[in-house]
Amino acid sequence: MESNTEIPVVEGLFVWSADSTSLIGSKCYGCGVHYFPKSLHCRNPYCNKSQLEVVLISGPGQLRSFTQQYFRPPALFKMENWEPYMIGQVEFPEGVRVMGMLTGFKPDTVKIGAEVTLTVEALYLDDAGRNVMTYKFCPYSSGDKA
């Protein structure tokens, strides 16, 4: 039986509901630049007014590049039933480019430029039996789906 309690792998990084997932970022109201994760200060040297507010980044976005990792990462990364998986970088309309795991793509047909959206998946069960979730990128249009 699957546990129904889900917690994020890191607090304050993303939020999700049954039908949508969003990254928690910042927008600078001085210059309009978006950041992910939430930024401590506006990093734009041409911005004279660092005024950050929390915003949600929801996509869809465009896949800039990706790779399949064939070897298991060091122990700080926890994943049950580990097998080679893909990581990609996605550009969102807000101008922020975010890395994350890919899921739900047909193998060997992933392409740079593909439209992707956000989802969450469990990485592992913690000691309390809760599903530890991370954000992932999945196909936006049904044609790319596995």
Partner: protein, 399 residues
């Protein structure tokens, strides 16, 4: 500002030395560099150590003070600098400025490292916190260093069409150069077929297209013009040094971040800006143009770096390095000899020592001492190194 010269250089062979503490690597190599300069520990007036957190006491890696307390307690100035793989370059930059400013006449810059095995993990001691991108990249997606470079490599193929064979060919060139370098860890030449038959780590990068992690150490002794005369060494100028960090809007997949911001100004050079800016600082300060460079030692963490970096620095147009490699123009007798040392792909990466090793090789090339891998009549050599967390450094040597 006083001109700065290279008095002595030395590097320990790269490899795995589980029975030799980091401190011993540093002491041996520094003793050898001092001998190369014809002086002793007691002649040093300052020492700058490139530090990382992978090994070393007191929590901040190799430190010059500990080095002195275990070698020669003269009471001289000890400075410790960080910057990941760029720390070696930053240490040299700092040492050079201690001489240029008139504070010291002879200063050593040292890097020594023993690395953990396998993928480079998160160094110990940081907070598990949303503000620590190194923490985020591991727990949210397990992004290894090769994954970042692999995505750059795949993007390059998308943009300029670099083939799997060209990425393999870059490795064969490095290993050919490295085969003549007694300090290199991998001294066997290789073929495109062998490279492509090595296990896929993070596509398109195979194991042999990614630098290994090694132990190693290197030391540079810098001094004034007067010290060059006293030591009786070849007058080799450290013409300039540049240190920089990443710029806003840089599109590179920068380890260990999980995101970047698209440049609002698409016209500017906006990739690996920490290294590009360091290179430009060094060139401007020395009044040297790219066309004057005879030897380029760059940090080839992967085959992608060999192809991408010369274009980022402005040596070639986008995609042109592939063509230059094919024509043999990056070899010892080519238009732009890259990494006659054999590079990281022949040495493996001993983080903080790497930036110092590059300058040692530059010195051997300009002295004409790079037997078996000598670039004919090399007069100007440039190094470029990237460090974890948006650090870059570049050193220019002339004779």
């Amino acid at each position: 500002m006083r001109p700065v010269y290279i008095l002595g250089v030395a590097a320990h062979p790269w490899g795995k030395f589980p029975d030799k503490p980091q401190l011993q690597l540093a002491i041996e190599t520094t003793s050898q560099a001092l001998k190369d300069a014809g002086i002793g520990w007691k002649n040093l007036q300052g020492i700058v150590a490139a530090s990382s957190r992978f090994e070393g006491g007191l929590g901040w890696g190799l430190h010059a003070n500990e080095l002195l307390q275990n070698s020669c307690e003269t009471g001289i100035a000890a400075v410790n600098v960080g910057g990941g793989c760029a720390a070696g370059g930053i240490a040299i930059h700092t040492a050079a400025n201690m001489i240029a400013s008139g504070q010291c006449d002879i200063v050593a810059a040292v890097g020594a490292e023993r690395m953990p095995k396998g993928f480079i993990p998160r160094p110990p001691g940081a907070q598990d916190d949303i503000t620590d991108t190194d923490y985020l990249r591991w727990v949210t997606m397990g992004a290894t260093n090769p994954a970042y470079w692999a995505m750059e490599a795949k993007r390059r193929t998308y943009e300029v069409g670099t083939s799997a064979e060209t990425y393999a060919k870059a490795v064969t060139l490095m290993r050919q150069n490295g085969s003549a370098n007694p300090l290199a860890r991998y001294r066997k030449q290789t073929t495109v077929e062998e490279v492509l038959a090595s296990p896929m780590v993070s596509d398109p990068l195979h194991l042999h297209q990614i630098c290994a992690v090694s132990d190693g150490a290197a030391t540079l002794i810098l001094g004034t013009e007067e010290q060059v005369r006293r030591c009786g060494v070849m007058p080799l100028r450290l013409a300039s040094s540049g240190v920089a960090t990443g710029s806003f809007g840089d599109s590179s997949l920068r380890i260990p971040t999980v995101s970047t911001v698209k440049s609002p100004d698409q016209q500017s050079v906006n990739h690996t800006t920490e290294v590009v800016s360091a290179v430009n600082h060094a060139l401007n300060m020395a009044g040297v143009g790219l066309e004057d460079i005879n030897v380029l030692e760059l940090a080839d963490n992967t085959a992608w770096h060999i192809l991408a970096w010369p274009e980022l620095f402005g040596f070639f147009e986008p995609g042109q390095t592939d063509w230059m490699l094919d024509r043999g123009e990056l070899g010892l007798n080519g238009k732009l000899p890259i990494n006659p040392s054999g590079g990281f792909l022949s040495f493996g990466e001993a983080t903080t020592a790497q930036g110092v090793l590059q300058v040692c090789e530059a010195a051997w090339q300009l002295r004409g001492q790079a037997s078996g891998r000598q670039v004919p009549n090399a007069k100007v050599a440039m190094t470029a190194v990237l460090g974890l967390g948006a650090n870059g450094a570049s050193i220019l040597l002339t004779r």
